[in-house]
């Protein structure tokens, strides 16, 4: 493969992507999140995905949770990256985590019904956020909600896994491995080895 240059490798990579995506029917947004050649960025695709593991109600809750965890807020988030499809795919293939997800979703709905008289997916965004905050932030933890916290940790972990391994997510953190370099890249702050006088934080 020596001497083929970056363009050929790029084309081979995209061809492999298309082949990989086509093995998994229904992964519309996932394939798009892979930056499929030909799809204009931002072009909507019909998003009818049939979950392999979750019930339709469970799935819409997973979708909502993933969007709350990594929102579309100026840059693309879990929705654009098809994270809920990824989570469904991973849970369908891993019997060891299925109970944790199903039980956690059940807990969430029972908790929502107790607090707000509606299932989680039917609550207002403010109420959903309030519930999640109590599961996410140490200062807001309440006794008796250990199962909810455990589930929140689980779905947050899988949301992060799904987002930051998508093209969109890797671009969000600007993963250096998306590029190749013609020479060894070196620190650009020659006169400040301790890095104490860097330009103000961009993020």
């Amino acid at each position: 493969m020596a001497g083929q240059g970056i363009e050929r490798r790029e084309i081979l990579r995209v061809m492999a992507l298309a082949a990989a995506a086509s093995q998994f029917p229904g992964f519309h947004r996932w394939a798009f999140a892979c930056g499929h050649v030909g799809a204009p960025p931002g072009a909507p695709r019909p998003a009818v995905y049939t979950p392999q593991f979750f019930t339709p109600d469970e799935y819409s809750t997973v979708e909502r949770l993933s969007e709350m965890i990594i929102p579309s807020d100026g840059s693309p988030g879990a929705r654009e990256a098809g994270v809920s499809e990824f989570i469904d795919f991973m849970v369908a293939g891993d019997p060891g985590i299925q109970y944790g997800f199903r039980y956690g979703l059940t807990w969430l709905n029972i908790h929502a019904e107790e607090q707000y008289a509606k299932p989680f997916r039917s609550l207002s965004a403010e109420d959903q956020t309030a519930i999640l905050k109590r599961l996410a932030y140490k200062e807001q933890f309440r006794t008796g909600e250990e199962e909810g916290r455990r589930f929140f940790s689980l779905i947050r972990e899988y949301t992060i896994m799904g987002f930051y391994t998508s093209r969109i997510g890797l671009e969000e953190i600007d993963f250096p491995g998306l590029k190749l370099y013609s020479e060894s890249p070196g620190c650009p702050h020659g006169d400040d080895p301790e890095h104490l006088h860097l330009p103000p934080a961009k993020y």
Partner: protein
């Protein structure tokens, strides 16, 4: 028609086997090389340019299979490492034995740290009274190190540290932001932080392209920008017309003739399970440290009831390994919120803190000898630090991005001392699927290496703090023995045939036409990796073998 008799049968195509194959073929000898696995095709087998989203499980691996992955294996290299290997461990021994049986072995995926050993290692026993000096001085082996560096290309700087001798180097890889920060911290603590000796091409070398810094070296290189037997040595050997490479041949034993000389090798063909014998005037065993010992121990005969070339009883003994573990990890607040940087280049193998302990006074520390540390960190493949960040929503997204350049961690490379408790022998009951008796590992970390482990954790914590970093933790225990893939010692070299398996040329004392060309001849691991040294000793062994054959033929 009688079977052909090759000049040399070489068992194994890893670093040592590859060096033997190239050297012997180029010297005009007819070589039959045996490899237990298949040839790889970089275009099909190496997925170093695949991104996470190209992989079915995003790189996390099939949940039904990922528990069986070796630590060095992942979804990108699934299918390239060997599984189902029959080996056993003695009670109380934990041993991970990742094996790549494909042509080239571990050289396809190695870490590329390639430092020379020095007299501080070769004459360690004279300094501290433990064990025995190597039968070779640095002055004798230095020209071989130079020849090897010129063949494979090693990038580094001249550092003027006799404990870490300088070699013939390509321009170094440049240091990253986190390197300069940690280097300052090391300066304050009084320990070195230097470019590693990296077997990675920063410039084109010997017909091989320079690296393009994709960061996935340990998944196999699709262009051959670092040394591996298939990219560097096999083409040169094949060019001579003297090589016959037989793949998928699992070696059972080395055959000895009635006078006790090696006469060939018995192997099993993987697919057909056909038993084959191949004959040669000399045999080179380079199946990797433990496997070479296994083959010799299984090569019993009337002359050698304890295994071929084992009159010393030392075949399989003196097994040493590098103790690996994360000695500290945390983050560097100076880099919070900064743009991302290519920290992942070379699979984040760029620098090291080479041994600084017991250099002047061999007993300055509570332990003897010494260890090195590899710092790593920065922008990586996945934000593993996410567990340290609370919350969800835009705040989480922003924090993951803010912390992305900041992680810093250290892992140690600590040599175990040769010990009567650490050795391999043949399991009396277990055989593999070809009926070849399995090897049994006996191994425990000894007091010296555990003292170094505690010392390393203390120092790395200090370095992180002195660098202005925040400490998150350290591994409670070292990694499982065998993790480092740097075993040595099972066919040690030495001048005394009663205590050593080979002489200082890797020629077995008992069988003059039997040579060993892998890390099993090295007396111990030292604080450096073993690959460059085993390549230098293998080259020297092959020069000696060629000379030996010419002398007999004359």
């Amino acid at each position: 028609m009688s079977a052909p008799i090759y000049d040399v049968i070489v068992i194994g195509t890893g670093a040592g086997g590859g060096m033997a194959i190239k050297t012997l073929c180029e010297a005009g000898l007819k070589v039959c090389a045996l490899n237990s696995g298949r040839r790889l095709d970089p275009a099909k087998d190496f997925r170093n340019h695949k991104q996470a989203y190209d992989m079915k499980y995003r790189g996390f691996g099939d949940p039904r299979k990922r528990d069986k992955y070796y630590h060095i294996e992942n979804e990108y290299t699934a299918g390239l490492w060997e599984h189902g290997i029959a080996y056993t461990t003695a009670p109380g021994t934990e041993w991970e034995w990742p094996r790549c049986h494909a042509v080239g072995g571990k050289t396809n995926f190695w870490g590329r740290s390639a430092a020379r050993m020095g007299d501080i290692d070769f004459k360690a026993a004279s300094r501290d009274g433990f064990d025995v000096d190597w039968p070779v001085s640095y002055e004798e082996i230095a020209p071989y190190y130079t020849r090897v560096e010129r063949m494979i290309g090693v990038a580094s700087t001249v550092q003027h540290r006799p404990s870490n001798p300088d070699g013939d180097y390509l321009p170094p890889m440049k240091l990253r932001c986190l390197d300069y920060i940690l280097q300052k911290g090391c300066e304050k603590v009084g320990v070195p932080y230097l470019p590693d000796r990296l077997a990675q091409l920063t410039v084109p070398h010997a017909g091989h392209p320079a690296c393009h810094y994709c960061g996935n070296c340990t998944e196999g290189c699709d262009v051959g920008a670092f040394f591996s037997t298939p990219w560097f040595f096999l083409p040169l050997a094949e060019k001579t017309g003297n090589l016959e490479l037989r793949t998928n041949c699992v070696v059972r034993s080395v055959l000895a003739d009635p006078s006790g000389r090696a006469q060939g090798v018995a192997y099993v063909e993987r697919g057909t399970k056909r038993e084959v014998e191949v004959y040669g005037k000399a045999v080179v065993v380079a199946a990797s440290c433990i496997e070479s010992a296994r083959i010799l121990l299984n090569s019993k005969s009337r002359h050698f009831p304890n295994g071929l070339a084992n009159s010393s009883g030392q075949v399989g003994r003196n097994l040493c390994d590098h103790l690996y573990g994360t000695t500290a990890y945390g983050y560097l607040p100076q880099l919070l919120g900064q743009p991302s940087f290519p920290d992942n280049v070379s699979d984040s193998q760029v620098v090291w803190m080479p041994r600084w302990q017991n250099l002047e006074n061999p007993h300055a520390e509570k332990f003897i000898r010494g260890y090195s540390i590899y710092p790593t960190g920065g922008c990586g493949e996945f934000p593993w630090y996410q567990g340290r960040i609370e919350g969800f929503g835009s705040q989480l997204k922003r924090d993951i991005k803010r912390y992305y350049p900041t992680p810093a961690s250290f892992y140690c490379q600590i040599p175990s001392l040769p010990s009567p408790t650490n050795y391999v022998d043949i399991d009396p009951d277990v055989k593999d699927i070809y009926g070849i008796p399995a090897v049994r590992v006996h191994f425990q970390w000894g007091p010296n290496e555990l003292l170094m482990w505690e010392h390393a954790k203390a120092v790395c914590g200090q370095v992180l703090a002195a660098s202005g970093g925040e400490f998150w933790g350290a591994a409670p225990n070292p990694n499982t023995p065998g993790y480092s893939l740097h075993e040595t010692g099972t066919c040690r070299m030495g001048n005394d045939p009663k205590r050593f398996v080979t002489n200082r040329f890797g020629q077995t004392h008992d069988v003059p036409n039997l040579y060993v060309c892998d890390a099993s001849v090295l007396l111990s691991c030292s604080d450096k990796t073993t690959t460059l040294s085993l390549l230098a000793f293998a080259l020297r062994a092959c020069d000696h073998l060629v000379e030996n054959m010419r002398h007999r033929a004359a």
